[in-house]
Symmetry: D3
Subunit: 329 residues, 6 copies
């Protein structure tokens, strides 16, 4: 019924307007986000039937998360609801050079962090799915969240479903040592890995003379089908450059670099992941998938909130003329 | 150095604008509140040197709470700071008849709920203070918060400091049975009790044919110096009526009833408490204290946020002409 | 697959904040609404699988309408998309006595007004549905919209599906004479009629010494199964009173009257309709349906926007204690 | 060229949103107002060619005032511009019972307060005008503003132009004694006086057993052609009642009383004045003028800002059915 | 009475805040704009008596357009009012690289698109005017709008009034072929043409090795008095470079290039046009006109909304020191 | 009791949102600022006990200023309160290239401008203080403000307290000649001077072949202990470069240059001053003080409002890795 299932946390995101510091805020803009949630939304918007699996509190905030998923067509029928526990939150401060943007998590004790194996029957849930996706963030939330995610990966793998993992190291959630220990448990089951050079080094201590070398090492060490490495340069907070590579079956795929004006960079990696998985399902062509993913990620930077409010047609229009900045009228 | 010390929790308060339901919000108005915090702010604004004692996380949100206390002149030098734990939050939905306003707490696991006896040296802290105030909410937060509050009450009593307690039963925090068990531990040390008929019944199962009878029973059962009972009628969500009585040494004190248009009723009980304690410290006259407290509470209903942004002069102006609604220009 | 299908228009609703006149606005609050859309959303929120059928332009505004339906779980898979035509809009001015609220329609030439019979295969679409609902507004939009709606009613009736019509006369859309001519074509196929005394008179020139008499006459003239008449008193713009009656098989059903503080009265009739249809599907009890519908409508008045952001549990809580206005905390 | 000329001050009005106290504001809503400015705008909106005469600083704030006059069609070609001096401001706090709304003036040293006789050639400016209007506020601003206003009154009178004065006593601008001294200089030249019972007593110590008696006394003492007395009852801050009487040539004219929900009562007296002067110029009928004025004032209370954003058709619609509060759609 | 008359459409412009996509908006910022409206406003602000001629619906939105014209001193007495038809709207999405800004028009069926020859007596209206200005957008609105505009051009030309046309090709309104056919009818009557290289090619298929060559070709083909070509480079959405050239009587005029930070580029071409026409009327010097026009256009990019909220003094200050970016205090 | 005392004016700052021109504003964002106020706040935030001395009106606006100082821990017990006089205001327009930001002062007749020598007992107030700081702005406000400031400088010097002056020339407040005359009276008492090359030339006509030469000349002419010169390059309004030098005892100290994205540059000089004074008090090392000051100033540019909402830890983090712009999560 779904082509993709993503599993993880979705949070309220509270952000003061106009580059205010958190400490000076008198109000927050409210959106919903979370890496696997973002991937699910972006895939659904691109036309891929997708379900988001999580555990949410049965209260207005939990319902808001589910509503926002549904708004974009994401299936929420497998969400686990609870009367106990809270919804995770995160506070986002948008910066300007030389002050980087910054996140303050308030996600401890969230409903998803207390999920248990018995809450989800992965075998039944994954039947008929083509891709299962989760990330290192879910693994970092709690021991039980990691166990449930791992079970999902394992089950998917055993069912012949493509498994996808975004390494997504978060220093505010766990140490590098913990990440290495836990993520190493996931790697045997991963088909497609999304990562960055920095995260690769912090979690696996893998380094290379360039990103191609890093990709190759990851590929070899973990027997991956595909490795995608995203590359962000940050000449300033408001101006970034973005590209990514993919490595599969001995071939390195590259793409152009996008010059970006940053409205909101949170969720751009997720837009990349969604674009890439969309490509795999749609084109069955790694280079095209990479190109689509990069265009999708590039557009995301221009949109406030975690979510990638674009259409397939808009991504394709950018791919067709990536340097056209004329007003459309 | 301080005339009053209050002890308890302060939270971020997040409220959607314009009577929106939480579930439909796209932004929150942000203020800071909490019953003992509100009392401290109101007392300080009335000119009483006051300290607020709590435990706060050392992050922008914790600093915001301290800032907002300082903004009104409250002493924060005794706050206990921690690198761990979170700041409590609450979400407030403002209603309209027949939909009552509603609070969604997200205060579990807050820094104050994890305070320990060793964090506060009450004896040293209370030296020179005239009144110590806390509430049933602090007692409801956690076993350790209750213990620290109780130690504060006990210490204050033993030092000859006037002790003040607002019963403040919160059904979303604990059961009536738990409240009865814990609050009964506090009552032997209480000099001044603030309560309502409903809370009195829910916590102590004390009922009377009218509020005077309830006050008398409380007075007798717990050997209180003063009992103040606030009385709110709610013909509608936007229109309330307010008065209160006080009972001391066998005498019942009454006051006029205020017709209120409700901008924000949260914190009005705290404005009453602060007004009353201000009166005790300033007039040494229970009837005057009651009148000042009622006027203070009445004004609070017209002000957004938990805090009572009034001056002593404004309360006195209302006392002088409680029915004058002409625009002042 | 759906228990209910509603057919009609959804519009962007643009409303200046804080009781501003349209002419003085410098910004608009944006929501989505339309009578059949509102009914679909409310039913879906109450747990009834519901589809909304309409014709929408394939552009960001059309997508927004579909998103907002999905957000509440409404099925949008039968919406007819078009590259041509526009989305209807309406501008809403919120008033204060003695200035009534006012609507400025900008819905001419909308996509739905240009729908054609061939756009919808009612027979296939209605298969398995329990209730089909449309309103006099759809009939007023254009000749072709009326024809498609009528075909839907006729088809539903012939399939043994319960047909529901809200008379909903809008003087800004058509004359009383036109309304009478067109709506008379619908009446032979109607099972459940929602109306008011005023609309009944304006469209059908039916009057009675009281609303019961009006209900009885409607019942007889049009061989209806159920007539529901809503009754609003408007002592002021910000304070209304609401109740409704239902008449079925010779029996008149009545309910209590709700005192309402008006945040936004638009859509309250739709909340009534949804509540009533929910009741029919759930309780199979007309009195209970009426009570549920009234409570649902009463709550709607307290919520900004056209939509009824409530849960079934909240309606039931109001039914259990319709006069409780205490803050919930 | 103009039928009416008004002379006085226009200010920026800064008001915190949502009933905030000034002291807690983090932003202001900005509008422009001032009694004679408001009258000019309302008259122009009703179709009367009107000029506003004042002295403004040549800076963005001064230009904003002129723009806002022009926006409503008011002629600004006689405004005196200056490179020196400032624009007056006022801060408005909107209240809720029992807290009355309140104004904090910051209008000292304004450009208009420093106007001089030589700045205005009243004789040339008034040629061809039918009504000249000013108020006690202008007289209160400064000695020179009073002199220029008085010269205007005197000149108008000598040219046979109808002179109109709103007594408008402002306790925050001058004492009752000062007001009496200065306003007594104006009264010999006044044809039409607008006032309230309270202002009449405070300025002239004239009292009567009812408002008719007050009107009669004013009429006699000052040889007025017309006296209009507005009557506001304030059962609460959000709910007022309004009516007014007029007295002319021995006849007392009365009208219905309007129940008002208060969005913003500032400027409602000016809407009355404009409605009355409009009536005099249009109907030449005092009773009709009074009725039009009251309906105009009643509507103003529902509109944010000082200005009366209504049309003649809207006032006439209210006159035709003053109790109709149904939503118009 | 007016030095300039412009003829065309003005619309409500609705724009979501903070770079939001339309689809995600929950509110719109509201301004008024339209190319000929913008030119009229900018000219009036620069001190040129200017009238805007259009057809508007007699409702609050139509009045808002007229008000906004008057706010800047534009004469609106020749606007044609109608009880039928709607006001055109446009939705504007502000972008960030690589997402260009985008316009969604909702202007079909607008009042101006249904204007008829008999609605305007150009001969009477144009008497005494020095410049008549319209654009290719008006010609694109409808056959009748094009006819009325053409009649205006023709009449102006025959009266010896300078005629001005901005080619302004809009791909969302018509095809290049249609544009070529209709605009060719206008060209014989044009004295001053404003265009870009791109529009020139799209409409007339005229190309040159550089803009000077294009100008020369236009000049020759259409016997123009003056051709002005604006030149925008778009290294990014937030950073543009702007200059323009003019060609007249065989002479090419050039100017410096401005580096622009883009707050809102909509209307900058209109600010150029207004600046140029202002120059022609004021300096009678094409080079000075070009310089003034460029400075005016450069400033417009820094101002939200379609309109050029600048003064002549501010343009002259920029001309005097075009590279001074120090804060002025 | 305080380590630092600053003396000067604090104003309401009113700024239209989103780069609006003042003339087009419909609302203002409200903050509080003023150079010596900003320095006091920044020092207090860095942990230095600091008092702000000024004269404020006893009204809600004056209280707001005091509140905002207290919010950051600044001691306000020496503020002189008055029932007369007004609070100064300033209006700030934020620009975009080529439109520079601009300030419109409305600070004439402010309470501080009317301060008198007898209002402040400098000798008592300064006892125990380590640094006294004021600026050329205070000297520019009025003759009496200059006198009181000068008396403060003189007294501090005589008490052996370090005296600090920011030259801060403001062309909108006084002429260069006036500034030279008055500031020359201050210079004999100054230990630490903060200035720019431009201000140095405008006030003292001192020029040099580079900033080091300017520093040396200032040092010699005025026998200063330390001169700090800040250096801003403005390639565009939204992108600046910042560094500063210090000169003391014959040594020139330099630092890196920061690339800045400008959210709000107002107050950045004050953040520099505070950082430098903090350094002097904390490190007793001029180079470290300079580095800390520059990092502090750099961060300030990214924060809306006059105030430097940073912590010492954040400044130190920037010093540790001044080029790290990765999002922190």
């Amino acid at each position: 019924m779904h082509d993709v299932i993503t599993f993880g946390e979705a949070m309220l995101r509270l952000s003061p307007p106009h580059f205010q510091r958190l400490e000076q805020a008198s109000g927050f803009e409210l959106t919903v986000g979370g890496t696997e949630f973002n991937v699910a939304v972006a895939l659904s918007r691109l036309g891929i039937p997708t379900a988001f699996v999580s555990r949410l509190p049965e209260n207005p905030l939990g319902r808001m998360v589910a509503n926002k998923a549904r708004e974009h067509g994401v299936d929420i029928s497998h969400i686990v609801w609870t009367e106990a526990d809270r919804l995770g939150l995160y506070f986002l401060e948008l910066g300007a050079s030389p002050r980087a943007s910054s996140v303050l998590y308030d996600r401890a004790h969230s409903a998803i962090s207390r999920i248990r194996q018995k809450d989800i029957n992965w075998k039944r849930l994954l039947a008929g799915t083509r891709i299962f996706h989760t990330t290192g963030i879910t693994a970092a939330l709690s021991r039980s969240a990691a166990q449930v995610a791992l079970k999902g990966m394992h089950t998917a793998k055993s069912l012949g479903i493509t498994t996808s993992l975004d390494l997504n190291y978060r220093a505010k959630l766990w140490s590098e040592a913990e990440a290495q220990r836990v993520m190493s448990l996931f790697m045997p089951y991963v088909d497609v890995l999304f990562t960055t050079e920095e995260d690769t080094y912090r979690v696996f201590k893998i380094k290379g003379k360039n990103y191609a070398a890093v990709a190759r090492k990851l590929h070899q060490r973990f027997k991956l089908k595909i490795v995608a490495i995203t590359l962000r340069e940050t000449p300033s907070v408001w101006h970034n450059r973005w590209t990514a590579i993919a490595f599969a079956k001995g071939t390195l795929y590259e793409d152009i670099t996008y010059d970006l004006e940053i409205v909101d960079r949170v969720g751009s990696g997720d837009a990349f992941t969604a674009g890439f998985l969309f490509g795999l399902l749609t084109f069955d062509d790694i280079h095209k998938s990479l190109q689509f993913a990069n265009a999708s990620a590039a557009l995301k930077h221009s949109i406030p909130g975690d979510l990638s409010w674009v259409t397939r047609a808009e991504v394709e229009k950018l791919l067709a003329s990536p340097r056209s900045l004329r007003i459309s009228r």
